[in-house]
């Protein structure tokens, strides 16, 4: 347990009063900067973002504008933010991180497979550090955004957390440890 506490010492929660992805990411990146600082090896850092609704707000808002103004006059600035991977791309730009960049549409259900990917990438030395970020932009597009972060620099750390998190592969049977609480804002489905 001591090992687990050590590896999750950078756990963090934050709430931001935005639902708009673009506006929210400014606050998210500021929080990440305060928590994590600058990555030591940007080209060997991977970002693994899990979100249940990245892109939702901008997609609806963009199409509302299309309906209002017509397809020839909608402002294109919002369009890139309709893509679910836009927030993860924004983090990469803010920190100059040029390693693997993953976005999963999901919930706590996706923690095992995400950790498995991080484990693989660390053990194969494709990366030297992984940022596992859970980022939800608020239920029903209106409630506050929530953010949590875990940083891994060693596959052994990932394995330790995986052992804590679950016993059955791809299941929720073992998801009862303290570590899961960091992701509890994700609705299980």
């Amino acid at each position: 347990m001591e090992r687990l506490n050590d590896l999750t010492r950078r756990e963090y929660y934050a709430s931001f009063p935005f639902a708009d992805e673009k506006a929210t990411m400014e606050a998210v990146n500021a929080a990440l900067q305060a928590i994590l600082g600058v990555p030591v090896s940007p080209d060997k850092t991977g970002i693994y973002l899990i979100s249940s609704n990245a892109g939702f707000y901008s997609s609806v808002a963009f199409w509302e504008e299309v309906l209002e103004k017509g397809p020839g006059l909608a402002n294109p600035e919002r369009f890139p933010w309709t893509l679910a991977n836009a927030p993860c791309g924004a983090i990469s730009r803010a920190f100059g991180i040029t390693g693997p960049n993953y976005t999963f549409h999901g919930t706590a259900m996706d923690l095992p497979v995400t950790l498995e990917q991080i484990d693989f990438d660390l053990s194969q030395e494709l990366i030297s550090q992984a940022w596992l970020i859970a980022l939800d932009f608020g239920k029903n597009l209106k409630e506050n955004t929530r953010l949590s972060v875990l940083v891994f620099s060693d596959a052994l750390e990932v394995n330790a957390l995986m052992a804590q998190l679950y016993r059955q592969p791809y299941g929720l049977e073992g998801l009862s440890s303290d570590a899961l609480k960091k992701f509890q804002f994700f609705a299980t489905d």
Partner: protein, 384 residues
């Protein structure tokens, strides 16, 4: 046995595309140089500046489930070709951009709809439901590179030994939202998509799906199956440069390709064919060509691209193109690049205009995405 040393093979694949609902049909039309691009009256009537696109006609689907239906059609062919029953603990790795785009457009009208039930994960769930898979599916939202990501993740899960069979791929229904977005971003051609052509003016929107059955080679061989191709490695990088534009020097793409090669222990001179991303936009094609020249020097392998024939199917694109890579290996034939007529000297890569028989062992499938995502999936023929 070290599970990481396992070799992963494709034993089934299926597609749903504007040029055919089978790999063989798509392949024959591609070799003929056909393009599905045409003007659409409904888009013109709705006031779209460009009404050219590549769409699939005659698909029946439940409301807001077009993406799921395309994925299921492709999965049906893949499962059938593999000859495998689908066990409950199969891993599902599925990529798309936003999922059922029409649901988000519907929500914008102010009417109630559960968007969670129509996002990327919903299509993956549809596949799981269809085959009684109990594992939680993995939904990868990495836009136009999502198919490569999905297949790469499936391989890693199989190598770890956690699953014995994976269904992986991508799907994207035709998206009016994307049609407007790309058009308003001035990334859209008003007629044909011409990858690496001096007269190219942008991309065309497409739609479709491609699904693969993946398993460990020893399992496939033990049941008497003949692998279609082996998946070797996936290289991933991020440009960290611009929300929509690629890094102009192509260095992010170069690193993705180099990572794929290094991970697999394959030398650049071993590559027989590069299936390019080839979106037909000015900046992306130049960046990709620069990257290829950085990796391969003066000996860039034969290149081709299919977006002139199929449009850009976004989250399905790299999966559909992987099916073409596998089919090219099977047929030992390099496909043409439809609508590529006059090479852009600024790109200057050997882009094939007509099909050619060749010995094809190692193939790179390149795919990039908004947000600066770069992916390079390396496959090879099974008999190597």
């Amino acid at each position: 046995m070290n599970p990481l040393s396992s070799r992963i093979v494709i034993t089934g694949m299926g597609v749903a595309t504007p040029l055919g609902m089978s790999v063989s049909g798509l392949w024959s039309r591609l070799l003929e140089g056909q393009s599905a691009a045409r003007a659409w009256e409904d888009l013109a009537a709705e006031g779209y500046r460009s009404n050219y696109a590549c769409r699939i006609e005659g698909i029946e689907h439940a409301p807001f489930r077009r993406g799921r239906q395309l994925a299921l059609l492709a999965a049906e062919s893949a499962v059938k070709q593999s000859g495998l029953p689908v066990p409950k603990n199969t891993g599902i790795f599925f990529g798309s951009t936003l999922g059922e785009s029409a649901a988000f457009e519907f929500a914008a009208t102010g009417q109630s709809i559960d968007l969670q039930d129509h996002a990327v994960r919903s299509i993956a769930r549809g596949i799981a439901h269809q085959y009684g898979v109990e594992n939680a599916p993995t939904a990868i939202a990495t836009a136009c590179a999502a198919g490569n990501y999905a297949v790469g993740m499936a391989c890693r899960a199989l190598k770890k030994g956690r699953i014995a069979l994976a269904i992986a791929g991508g799907a994207e229904p035709f998206s009016r939202l994307a049609m407007v977005g790309f058009s308003r971003s001035r990334a859209m051609s008003n007629q044909y998509c011409r990858p690496f052509d001096v007269n190219r003016s942008g991309m065309l929107l497409g739609e479709g799906a491609a699904i693969f059955m993946l398993e460990r080679a020893e399992d496939a061989l033990a049941r008497g199956a003949t692998p279609l191709a082996e998946v070797l490695s996936l290289g991933l990088t991020c440009d960290a440069y611009h929300p929509v534009a690629p890094r102009p020097d192509g260095s992010g793409i170069r690193r993705a390709i180099e990572t794929a090669l290094k991970t697999a222990g394959v030398l650049p001179e071993q590559i027989d064919w590069v299936n390019t991303h080839g979106s037909g936009t000015k900046l992306s094609d130049i960046a990709e060509a620069k990257a290829l020249k950085q990796v391969f020097g003066e000996n860039v392998p034969t290149c081709s691209g299919s977006k002139g024939a199929l449009g850009h199917a976004l989250g399905a694109a790299s999966a559909i193109e992987l099916a073409l890579c596998v089919q090219g290996i099977q047929a030992q034939t390099l496909p043409p690049t439809p609508c590529h007529e006059q090479a852009d000297p600024e790109c200057n890569i050997p882009c094939l205009s007509s099909p050619r028989s060749a010995t094809i062992q190692y193939v790179l499938n390149c795919a990039f995405a908004f947000g600066g995502l770069n992916s390079a999936l390396l496959i090879r023929s099974w008999n190597v």
